[in-house]
């Protein structure tokens, strides 16, 4: 079990704790529509991993396979080196938190949290007093002391979320799985609970997966982020890796605002629509590629210097700057750039710009 103190948990990740969960070439078909294509991932003990992706990317399916709520069509799942797929959901010892919490409405908060302990076979069931002690301890951990006699309908959304987490922790799970844990909450409550979840994780040290479609949440909270799209893993890495070194155009465009343009690389220069862009690469052979850049990473280019040029079709205020929407190239593609307030020009004006930071992806 993960009885690590916070300090041990921290260091063990840093030193490379043993692999706790192995997902090996896991695939899933629902009838004729595949949801996962051979997904593989190793997760170390005590890691907090975010499964990030748009809806339909397969992240929830992967979570449900880990929990034993779905069976994969192919592949293996190992917990601590041992096969987990042979275990029915009841024996996997998973703490699962559903997006809408799935609290038992006819039970008090106390009975909800105690449920996992009270359904154990008599031989392994703790005594009543011990169950009570543990439930009250967990209520304290999730800061709901005194609410044990309430019913779920008498709680706020954030309180329900914390009851759901306490209930999952009560069985001392070997793995904690959270499906969109903040999805049903207000923006402010989300932020508070996010910080709080990180604290709980650091104190309890459970290996944890959480599913989210919110990149900010994933980047802020997780030790590692797994970006998924259409049933495949696009990239696994730290927040910095994902943001600064995106492995694919999908990751680049999913994380943060971006524009992707089809370009041709010729003689070490990047050309767009046949014109040089003023961007250089150290590749010489001619090939087609995708240029990616973020709106705030561009500068305007005066006169006839090489640049990407386009007509302004819309402008809007964007924070401290102004966002221009341009039609660029012969195919009238959309590009977005940010300029200083005061630098903008009337709609229809032709402007040239050049990305300061940019990435080239294979076409």
């Amino acid at each position: 079990m993960n009885a690590l103190t916070p300090l041990e948990a921290e260091t063990s990740i840093a030193l490379g704790a043993p692999v706790d969960v192995t997902i090996d070439a896991v695939a899933k078909d629902f009838g004729d529509s595949p949801a996962l294509f051979g997904v593989s991932l190793d997760v170390r003990a005590g890691e907090l991993v975010a499964l990030l992706g748009p809806s339909g990317s397969g992240k929830t399916t992967l979570l449900r396979i880990l929990a034993g709520l779905e069976a994969p069509s192919a592949g293996r799942v190992l917990f601590g080196g041992e096969d987990a797929l042979g275990l029915p959901v009841q024996d996997r010892n998973i703490g699962f938190v559903f997006q809408h919490y799935a609290l038992f409405r006819h039970m008090t908060v106390f009975d909800n949290i105690a449920f996992g302990l009270t359904v154990r076979p008599r031989a392994s069931r703790p005594a009543k007093a011990e169950i009570r002690r543990r439930v009250l301890h967990l209520l304290n951990l999730v800061q709901l002391t005194g609410l044990e006699k309430r019913y779920p309908t008498q709680l706020s959304g954030g309180q329900r979320q914390r009851v759901a987490l306490a209930r999952a922790l009560a069985i001392e799970p070997r793995l904690l799985l959270l499906d969109e844990p903040f999805g049903a909450l207000d923006a402010q409550v989300r932020k508070d609970l996010r910080r709080w979840l990180r604290e709980i994780h650091d104190r309890t040290g459970h290996t944890t997966f959480f599913v989210t479609h919110d990149q900010e949440e994933a980047l802020e909270l997780a030790d590692r982020v797994v970006v998924m799209s259409k049933g495949r893993i696009e990239q696994v890495g730290s927040a910095d890796d994902i943001y600064d070194r995106p492995a694919s155009p999908f990751v680049f465009s999913f994380i943060g605002e971006s524009t992707l343009l089809p370009v041709v690389i010729e003689g070490g220069a990047v050309t767009f629509g046949g014109d040089p862009t003023g961007l250089d690469v150290n590749k010489t052979e001619r090939r087609e590629a995708v240029l990616g850049f973020r709106p705030h990473d561009v500068t305007l280019v005066e006169d006839d210097a090489p640049a990407i040029r386009g007509r302004i079709v819309a402008t809007r205020r964007h924070g401290g700057r102004r966002r221009l929407e341009l039609q660029v190239g012969p195919d009238h593609l959309r590009a977005e750039i940010d300029v200083e307030v005061g630098d903008e020009q009337p709609l229809g004006t032709l402007v040239g710009f050049r990305p300061q930071r940019w990435r080239i992806f294979p076409a």
Binding site: L69, Q90, G95, F104, H106, F115, G116, V119, T153, A168
Partner: protein
């Protein structure tokens, strides 16, 4: 049966409030409230002593005991099997499911007299089903068991149709949650699913019970109608009427009416309670 309806309408442009509410109240009063009030007034005019004499008459007591007792047993049996039927219809798929689902409403559509003679033919000592009872040495038709059969028939849709929508609305994640917490299937059903069905089951039970207590047509053919043994309360009312003993008929009817209203009240309480608790 006074109706304290205050005519405080919401201001708005839609016409016809006075006309429609007036007609509704007039029609309701003429068809339902005044005739029912007539029954209550007639019972009240009996005087306490006479009323108690009718209520405590051994034949009345036997009929009431039979009606309420067998109705309770039939509603209980229906609660169990109705739950199974609702469960199967909501959760499983099998060929012909839609037809089966439609058949559940048969007792609502089939005239009670038709049900009565059909059940009698089936459960008579030489009937399709009754012959097997005869072989085992007991009788179904013309005994209280026959009454039970008829009251089960009449009550089936009440349980199924009250449990079905609640079961269909139940979030399956609740059951998955219980499983991840280690609960075996039966434990999850017993501790998580069934408790949320209790209000619907109680409501269905009360509806089936109330209907069974008042049921007449489907019972009298199969019951045998032997005083003190298989004579139900509604039949006793009819018998008293044919004897022109209006006082006794009124007395028995009033007792049944009071118990029905208590049941109706109980149903409303159950529903208010479950709305509060389960949101």
């Amino acid at each position: 049966m006074a109706t304290p309806l205050a005519l405080g309408r919401r201001p708005g442009v839609i016409p016809g409030f006075g006309l429609t509410l007036g007609f509704t109240l007039a029609y309701l009063s003429l068809i339902v409230l005044i005739p029912l009030a007539g029954l209550v007034v007639r019972a009240a005019s009996l005087g306490w002593a006479d009323f108690m004499a009718i209520a405590l008459d051994p034949r009345t007591l036997a009929a009431l005991r039979l009606s309420f007792g067998v109705s309770a047993i039939a509603a209980l049996v229906n609660a169990v099997f109705g739950l199974v039927v609702a469960w199967v219809l909501v959760r499983y798929d099998f060929p012909g499911k839609r037809i089966i689902d439609a058949v559940v409403d048969l007792p609502f559509a089939l005239p009670t007299a038709v049900a009565g003679i059909a059940l009698t033919a089936l459960y008579a000592p030489n009937g399709w089903v009754g012959q097997y009872a005869t072989m085992l040495g007991f009788k179904i038709a013309y005994t209280p068991i026959g009454i039970f059969i008829a009251l089960v028939f009449i009550g089936i849709p009440f349980i199924v149709r009250t449990v079905e929508p609640v079961l269909a609305d139940l979030d399956r994640e609740i059951e998955e949650m219980a499983a991840t917490l280690g609960a075996r299937r039966w434990t999850a059903v017993r501790r998580v699913v069934l408790p949320t069905l209790v209000p619907a089951l109680l409501t269905g039970f009360a509806l089936a019970f109330a209907r069974a207590v008042g049921e007449y047509g489907s019972v009298i053919f199969i019951a045998g109608n032997i005083p003190y043994v298989s004579e139900i309360a509604p039949l006793l009312i009819v018998i008293r009427l044919t004897e022109f003993n209006y006082a006794a008929a009124t007395g028995v009817a009033t007792i049944m009416l009071i118990i029905s209203f208590i049941l109706l009240f109980a149903i409303n309480l159950i529903q208010a309670w479950s709305r509060r608790r389960l949101g």
